[in-house]
């Protein structure tokens, strides 16, 4: 994707269906995960209230072929409910932490959704026909009196309004003591991994009563705990390889062929710390909040608090590229520690060709970096700054004393408006950006 001077992104859709119904800001509507499926036809969002909303890409309209189709609501269902753990007297949130699609194998779509403790496999299927002309029941569904039946008929399939049904097919429960932060479908399409703060389990999609523990970093004495797992992902092509990141800014690549328990890594990625910038917050800002393999499988990207780093899997001692997301926050770390913003977990994503990466920031800003040209752009996802079909204007944060026109100063940033979740269409230049409880979908303008 070429990022020319000035934005090339066009705003086409401005909100989820939830936003169009409600004006108030409900906490349960906060979007907690966004994910395109393998074809990009479907876009799933999960929210804090345990709901999943799936959008579908409509076919381009013949009248206006220069515009791509829009994404409209395809299915909505309640994936997880709040639970209460009586033994520990603690609530289990229904918030959807992650959604991952399975590759499509038949007409139905499958996705995995997880909260802190339980992963569920959902089947989303369409029904656009129904049988009519039953013998034993009439059209209302009431049973007919068998003695009244004088003739038999063969039921006929008649078209009906499209109905999209979501049904839970598997429930993978009771395997995680700690909060699940990641799920990742393996390239073999048969297994997937789930990671919590201290352990990673490997599941078979068909088997729910058993999972294999492949990583366990829990110390014998919890007093000795100084590091947790923050994210994990399967390699896109090598089904025996996965990576997991830690709160100390390290990434471990593991090979499941080496041993049943992958506590010993095959590769260890860590960038040496810059001693001149060391502070009490160094460790916290080095904590990796997201790790994503490139589509090619040759690189991986990590997000820490202030930057995004691209790593070559063949080089462990430092990343090959580092992009500063919001370096102007480095002088504000104490305030951000005080208001807990320093613990925000930003995600990152690759575009389909691995030539660009995207991640979110504060004030509803999100950043995109072109790896080839090294250009970057800051855009804002908000209703005020974007109208349908309008081109997004690049934003800039002024760091020096003088604030230019249209720039925003660091102290004016709204730290409650954070973009933690973004997704990039696997093939096209279409991106989805979650801004609190609003979903924005932007696409590249075709000239």
């Amino acid at each position: 994707m070429k990022l020319r001077h000035g934005s090339t992104l066009t705003h086409i859709v401005t909100a989820t269906t939830l936003d169009s119904y409600k004006r108030e800001h409900f906490e349960s509507d906060i979007i907690s995960t966004v994910e395109f499926n393998y074809s990009g036809e479907l876009l799933a969002t999960g929210d804090k209230g345990g709901r999943v909303v799936i959008f579908q890409h409509e076919q381009e309209s013949k009248n206006r072929p220069h515009l791509r189709g829009e994404y409209n609501v395809y299915s909505t269902f309640q994936s997880h409910e709040p639970e209460f753990d009586y033994l520990k007297s603690l609530e289990i949130e229904e918030k959807i932490n992650k959604i991952r699609w399975l590759p499509q194998q038949n007409a139905a779509h499958f996705l995995l959704s997880t909260n802190d403790k339980t992963i569920k496999l959902w089947k989303i299927s369409e029904r656009d026909k129904r049988a009519e002309g039953y013998n034993l029941k009439d059209e209302d569904g009431r049973l007919r009196d068998p003695f009244r039946i004088t003739s038999l008929r063969v039921p006929v399939l008649m078209p009906m309004d499209l109905m999209v049904e979501a049904s839970p097919r598997r429930i993978f429960a009771n395997a995680h003591t700690y909060h699940i932060n990641s799920i990742s479908v393996n390239s073999d399409h048969e297994t997937y991994l789930s990671a919590d703060d201290l352990r990673i389990n490997l599941w078979h999609l068909e088997i729910t009563d058993r999972s294999f523990n492949i990583v366990d970093i829990k110390p014998a004495n919890m007093e000795e705990l100084t590091e947790v797992i923050t994210a994990a992902e399967c390699h896109p092509h090598q089904c025996n390889v996965f990576v997991y990141s830690s709160s100390k800014g390290t990434i471990r690549l593991c090979d499941m062929r080496a041993a049943a328990l992958c506590d010993r890594h095959s590769k260890f990625f860590e960038e040496p710390e810059d001693p001149s910038s060391r502070s009490f917050f160094s460790e916290i800002i080095s904590s990796i909040s997201d790790v994503k393999f490139s589509h090619s499988g040759r690189y991986m990207m990590t997000r820490d608090y202030l930057s995004v780093k691209v790593w070559d899997l063949n080089m462990e001692n430092r990343p090959v590229e580092t992009y500063q997301v919001h370096e102007y926050l480095r002088s504000k770390l104490c305030s951000l520690y005080e208001n807990d913003c320093i613990f925000d977990k930003f995600e990152c994503c690759w575009n389909g060709s691995d030539s660009a990466i995207m991640t979110g920031s504060y004030n509803n800003f999100f950043r995109m970096f072109d790896r080839n040209t090294r250009r970057d752009i800051t855009l804002e996802a908000s209703r005020e700054s974007s109208k349908p079909r309008a081109t997004l204007k690049p934003r800039k944060v002024s760091t020096g004393g003088k604030r230019k026109k249209d720039e925003i100063s660091v102290d004016s940033l709204d730290f409650n408006k954070k973009i933690l979740h973004t997704a990039w269409h696997p093939k096209d230049n279409v991106i989805a950006v979650a801004a609190t409880n609003n979903l924005y979908i932007f696409q590249d303008k075709i000239n």
Partner: protein, 309 residues
Amino acid sequence: DNMFPKGTKRKFSDSGEEAVSSGDQGPAAPSAAARMLSSSYSLQRQSLLDMSLIKLQLCHMLVEPNLCRSVLIANTVRQIQEEMTQDGTWQIMTQALAAAQCPTDRLVATEVLCRQTDPAAQAGQSPKPYAVVGVEEGYHSEEVVMEGDVETDVTMSTLSPVSPQLSSASYLAGPFGMGPCWEEEEEDGECEEEEEEEDSEECVSEGEEGDGDHLSADSRTGEQVFGTFEIKHPAPPPDPALEELFSDVDPSYYDLDTVLTGMQSAPKMGPYDLLDSLSSHGPTALSSSSSCRSDLNELDHIMEIIVGS
């Protein structure tokens, strides 16, 4: 609110009197003096320590605390502690407290809270978790058969988040090294260096039973800080010393100012008082003894129900 302006974070390391990364102390006296010069840095660092301790206390909410956040905050506290130990600030503080007359029961409290309560951890085992979810409504979740050990007993620690008072008291004796070493005059100041160390030596307090108890950092404290995720072996029955400890608590609340500025002239201060004063601008660290006692009784009661006695 720019508490740590850019470029002034490590004043004394800039002066080059201490090799930061290697931990080499160099000449102790002049470097300590150099550090004392940057009082604003010390204040800021102290304030960061206070903030961190409060954040850890507030971890015990209705929902299970975020373990990653807790670990990062705990590591930050450790770092501050290490630095304060290296530049001598920590010793000054602990010596001031040791010089103050600590009532015996406070020493007992420290010892009790330091005591290893988890027999499994003492044995060096790592019990595999059996995560139990209380309720699964609306779904027909299949029965789960977990590989590995199955523990169904509950320690007091797993229930203690409901009593923040107890947890804050434990912090003092726990991994942050504030409790166990106050009664001691440490020559080498290694007491609080590492939370991971067994610190069995350092935890022996004067005037106690003098038991050779393995006074490693309280596993319950770790549990309380890092969440109550584990269902492990049951704790021993309530200790009469615990009852005694809370029967005589008389926390004197000190201003933050007093702690920061008037260390030498601090009035009588015990382990609990320091935490109170440090978090005086936050939620009360220790409530009256009666509520502590009732919380303990409540915990006993709950534990009895669950263990099925």
